[in-house]
Symmetry: C2
Subunit: 133 residues, 2 copies
């Protein structure tokens, strides 16, 4: 564990960006942020925990929605300032009900939606709608 943190460069807010990628298909699911505590929790539980910048607290991915991410492997980039999380995503990663948060593309100068929701925010969150999933 110490070997990991010695390799990491957190930003001035104590955070590091983390890319979540479905381990077997290669699909990039989302980008979120982690702090030291969220990394420690992720490694201890095997379930990915981020740090929510909007709520300033640990964000246990899927805690409300059930759409959890099981950590398969944590990777570190050359500068130690970005993480790549290989995960097994249950259901959908995006709070909009889509598999990936990257469901919009620039095509012919227009921003177009390229993926449909697989479920609804209401089904994911009931009446407790939140932008964190």
């Amino acid at each position: 564990m110490n070997a990991l943190f010695e390799s990491l460069a957190f930003n001035e807010a104590g955070l590091i960006p983390a890319i979540a990628q479905q381990h077997d298909t290669g699909e990039v699911l989302m980008l979120a942020w982690m702090n030291r505590a969220s990394i420690e929790e992720t490694l201890a539980t095997g379930q990915v925990c981020y740090f929510s910048r909007s709520r300033s607290k640990l964000w246990r991915k899927g805690e409300t929605s059930g759409q959890v991410q099981k950590l398969v492997e944590l990777r570190i980039d050359c500068d130690g300032d970005s993480l790549l999380l290989l995960v097994e995503q249950t259901g959908v990663a995006c709070h909009t009900g889509r598999r990936s948060c990257f469901f919009r593309a620039l095509r012919d100068g227009e921003v177009v939606t390229i993926a449909d929701p697989e479920t609804t925010p209401e089904a994911l969150y009931g009446k407790n709608l939140t932008t964190d999933s």
Copy 2:
């Protein structure tokens, strides 16, 4: 173009994180940062240009090393605060000579190197060694 920038949320430094992914294999190559000017240049030229935070200037990926990234598609996440660049990577993405910058993994509590260099920094940069590639 305006439609794109209306969809984006830059951070307080005017930057947005961008994940580069090889478009056909799904390999995540690197994470870097873009500002508005670097996005405009990328879209105008079709070659990925980042913003180097360490050098505080545009970073035309591969300008020195020849290891350019051709933009295949730009995608935007649900919150508009992260980009996913699908690219055609020439050669290697990492300044260490490895295909991907994410060549270290945490395994059994140790940080281990999981990919070998395909070329050398000297071959990439000659005597003008730099951490930007």
